[in-house]
Symmetry: C2
Subunit: 396 residues, 2 copies
């Protein structure tokens, strides 16, 4: 039988990162291409304790069907936690628990975006979200990212020139892949532009709690007087990605529609996972755990930047980061970036070429992304040394 | 801010069952409206053992990111298990693990159906699947269900009269809500019609292992010489629904496209859940467990049918079932079914009105669905007695 697929998915391909992962799974290859939390960052012992207690006290609660909106205790707790700690969420907002934050992108797009409608994103941006937007045939318009976030003139131009813009997608803290944090001024300006052009903002904040230097900057959601910000939070980087738990705080009407989407997708998120998150947040010292993560990643980030300084700079440059898991490296403009990344793989080190993160993968980029949370220190040193040697060979 | 939603989700409402659940959560109400496995059906002790062993032996494996296709051991095992035991799947097929079987409906529709394309379903059919199809603006065409499955003349008429039919959706065993099992003759005929009109079949089989009387009938997938059957299996009714694990066996090209959809939705299914299913199937006596479930439900179904005979027949009639969790009850044609279901709720018993399962909820039905797996025996007797008394009052 010959198969024909829907228009929306007809041109979808497995992501470029995914293809790179094939090389990365070769044990001889040093992978700087992942985005996995460091293994030492998992509160494995605590989660094991919680899990066995849940099985003892409430086995049926773990195993039976649950409600689409999410574990009620976790929802309530997160609503007050996010309001008290970060001033995120108002009485007009509600919360939905999702199976990872990718699902928030899925339901936001499904419920808000017709085929052909426009989503404005940072350029570069997170490839997973871009692919979700593409999977509904949304038109993507990328706005260049500077050291302090999107270029605001380009953002306004994109809003003015495109019809049917549905939302601006932004990762304001330690952006994947650029590592950039959007300044408060630009957050305020972005919200004003969203008001002026009457569009929504989808604020994706998986790395916010992983700030290890510099000053905290309030979320765009804290500026949300009109109910135009959809805020996506996640447990993937602060507890565990394998358990697939995230949450979206947004205006009630939008949460209602996303809930109907969830009912029509996976009915509800694994209830055991949700209970783990709730119990870990409330019965253990969650703040101390976050501080531990920051200590781990602060050290790993510094180690990685020191290695870049030692082996790669100035042929490869990068911007210092204050948090998150990624560093964006830049080659001189005249260097063929895809060729560089290919040669890196031939030399047994894997990085993600920058064009993979653009709204059109065929556009050119002189950057590539490296991740320092997944590899060991030894692997990091080996990998970055190889990148430096390659740069010495290629860049005159 | 005023919100506008996408065309595909604009008219989506929370399902009627969901609204009924609001009454059902009142502890004074006997709910015959759910579809939950019986609490005694969960292998809680075994899953607890597996879970603590996994935490001891492989905590990082549970907590770290995993692959979109699913836990490799579970995928491989299921492929050979389904081929050896049921002759399901060929060398042209592949498997994808999903977060419950609802997600199979999601990805099948997303990848195969453009807005306005047609999906042919049984009438009545499972409301969850109908809502998933609706959430992509598919046009639903219902084919009446008889005692041995869809009326084949109506099915051929629906195939002949509708353009852009993408697939036939069927639950061949102990259908939800009708309890009907499609005969072998009709399975063969359905496949022939799918060939003649060149459409796919989405075969949804959550209850197949819960046959407690009558003869086994091979799946439509066993007839699939062309690669036109997408087979959906699930652990929800045989292990646990709360852990959200299902699987789809389908032609490789379709699995590839659905895998891209999954990447863009929840990245991968909770890996702990997948490991639980694999370990339970391979390290415990899974066949004995299935036999235990059949014993539980055989008894409960008989008890329920005996109560219907005692309190309701002949004013309320029903068709005897050979498996599954649901019984379809019929009122005389001149009785106002929605009014009956409303009065039932006023009398503290909750059933699902039959029109909720039609492709157009505004069409009329003289049936309603009762579930016997969730309530206790005492609740069942109380609820069915009330239904009988109500029938005595309303039906002259």
């Amino acid at each position: 039988m010959e198969y024909t697929f829907s228009d929306r998915t007809n041109n979808l391909k497995p992501s470029a990162i995914r293809e790179i992962f094939k090389y990365a799974s070769d044990p001889e290859v040093v992978s700087l291409s992942a985005g996995n939390p460091s293994e030492e960052a998992f509160p494995a012992k605590e989660l094991e304790e919680i899990s066995s207690r849940l099985f003892r006290e409430n086995p049926i609660g773990i195993l039976q069907y649950s409600v689409t909106e999410g574990y009620p205790k976790l929802r309530q707790y997160l609503l007050s936690y996010m309001r008290d700690k970060y001033n995120i969420g108002s009485e007009n907002d509600d919360i939905l628990i999702t199976t990872g934050a990718q699902q928030i992108m899925d339901f936001a797009t499904k419920s808000l975006v017709n085929e052909g409608d426009v989503i404005i994103t940072e350029a570069p941006s997170f490839i997973g979200s871009l692919n979700t937007f593409r999977s509904y045939n949304a038109k993507l318009v990328g706005v260049p990212v500077e050291k302090d976030g999107m270029n605001m003139e380009s953002l306004e131009k994109a809003l003015a020139e495109n019809k049917n813009v549905r939302f601006i997608y932004t990762i304001p803290n330690f952006q994947n892949p650029s590592g950039v944090t959007t300044s408060l001024e630009k957050r305020v300006k972005m919200y004003e532009l969203a008001q002026k052009y009457n569009v929504l903002i989808l604020e994706d904040n998986p790395y916010g709690d992983l700030r290890y230097s510099g000053d905290y900057i309030p979320a765009i959601k804290t500026l949300d007087t009109d109910g135009r910000v959809i805020y996506a939070g996640s447990f993937s980087k602060v507890v565990s990605p394998g358990i697939r738990v995230a949450y979206v705080i947004a205006p009630k009407e939008i949460i209602q529609k996303m809930t109907v989407c969830k009912q029509a997708s996976d009915v509800h998120t694994n209830i055991w996972s949700q209970m783990l998150c709730y119990e870990f947040m409330t019965k253990y010292d969650f703040e101390a755990h976050l501080e531990k993560l920051r200590t781990i990643y602060r050290k790993k980030a510094k180690y990685c930047m020191d290695l870049l300084d030692k082996y790669c700079v100035p042929k490869i440059t990068y911007d210092k980061i204050d948090g998150g898991l990624f560093i964006w490296c830049k080659l001189p403009q005249n260097v063929d970036m895809p060729d560089f990344c290919r040669k890196a793989i031939e030399n047994k080190v894997c990085v993600v070429p920058g064009n993979a993160f653009l709204t059109d993968e065929n556009d050119s980029s002189n950057g590539f992304r490296i991740n320092f949370s997944t590899p060991t220190d030894q692997q990091l040193e080996k990998g970055i040394k190889i990148l430096g040697q390659l740069a010495d060979k290629i860049i005159k």
